[in-house]
Point group: C2
Chain length 221, copies 2
């Protein structure tokens, strides 16, 4: 009941490596299930049994591929990391900059994408892990390079998007911090009243600040 495909379909005859394919399919299913568990149950409530249940796989089968809980979780974190890097590129690629003119619209779209980024399910999953890492030394060490990766991606993308700023590193870093801290602060806050309106105001406000920072940067150069 509820297994993955257990035998090759008639159409696709037994190809040499179909077993390996099925194996990786299952592994992906397990990792994605682990991430879903982070989101639904929280990091520490993500048990091996729950992951297997989500993946519609017996716990024994899972333990065959990932010999311990830690291994599953670390693999899931790596999987999530790659996914988030991709999602970031996807979102930012959506920004419409007809002729690379630094209009307000460009800034605003960037801010909006950052906000969307902080509202993806993968962001929630990631925050669960980060929160757990605060009191889990081993996990924290595992996460450190991941965090560095993100900081680098932010900077690299910003550099390519706003080449004028490439030289003025300080202002660029400030602009990034403003956007990241604000959007993530909003995403992590549990706003009770008129969330939408406040978010909207904040996003517009940040956009204005970006323009201001940019103005300072160019006037200084």
């Amino acid at each position: 009941m509820g297994k993955l495909e257990t035998s090759p379909k008639n159409g696709a005859r037994k190809s040499a490596g179909w077993q390996a394919e099925k194996s990786t399919m299952m592994q992906v299913a397990i990792l994605e299930s682990a991430i879903d568990c982070f989101i639904d149950l929280g990091y520490s409530n993500t048990t091996t049994a729950k992951i297997a249940e989500y993946a519609k796989v017996s716990r024994g089968a899972m333990m065959h591929h990932f010999p311990s809980r830690l291994r599953v979780l670390q693999a899931a974190i790596e999987y999530l990391h790659k996914k988030r890097l991709q999602e970031y590129d996807m979102l930012m690629a959506n920004i419409d900059v007809p002729d690379r003119a630094l209009s307000r619209a460009v800034f605003y779209e960037s801010v909006q994408m950052a906000w969307r980024y902080a509202n993806l399910p993968s962001f929630t999953a990631y925050q669960e892990i980060l929160a757990a890492s605060r009191t889990d030394r081993e996990l924290a060490e595992f996460m450190a390079p991941v965090e560095r990766d993100f900081e680098n991606q932010y900077r690299e993308h910003a550099k390519s998007m706003f080449p004028h700023w490439s030289d003025l590193g300080e202002y660029l870093d400030l602009a990034i911090d403003v956007v990241v801290f604000t959007t993530q602060g909003m995403a992590l806050s549990h706003m009770v009243q008129n969330k939408e309106a406040r978010v909207d105001k904040m996003l517009n406000f940040i956009t204005d600040q970006l323009q201001l920072i940019y103005g300072s940067a160019v006037s200084e150069s």
Copy 2:
């Protein structure tokens, strides 16, 4: 071994209510230990045994005062809530405003205090609880009014601190959000590189933004 005072000291003769006093002493010790556990171990790793160990009390004694884990945790949350409200007042009372002049120094000190507030141990403990509440419906319902309390405190304090803004609710709310989201976003982010410098830049930047918002507010009135 390692108990609280188990009998009245010679100096203080058996007063009528000393038993009740000792009882509340122990309860306070337990609640503070629970909060320490949140900080050291994380919310979900805070077991009844650990709390008792931290409080240097037998688990049985603890279960006598708090019949279930949930009760201890809820009592600890309420205790933490009061503590945080007090700490906020303490910090904000420190802001030196000689003649209520709205100089940059006043804004800056406010921002700095908000940053300090987000770096208190109690903030960490609180975030542990908030994070856990995301996947714990019962806890979330328990936390909702607490969150409202804080939002109200922010607004009330800001109103009293900047009476000129009292009428322009929108700008005041924006200013509060800017400070809260930014400082909390920073506190929750795991900055890897030159944290101090970035924080310093952000605090100064926010201060400038507050002045700007204030300028918009007064020019509109």
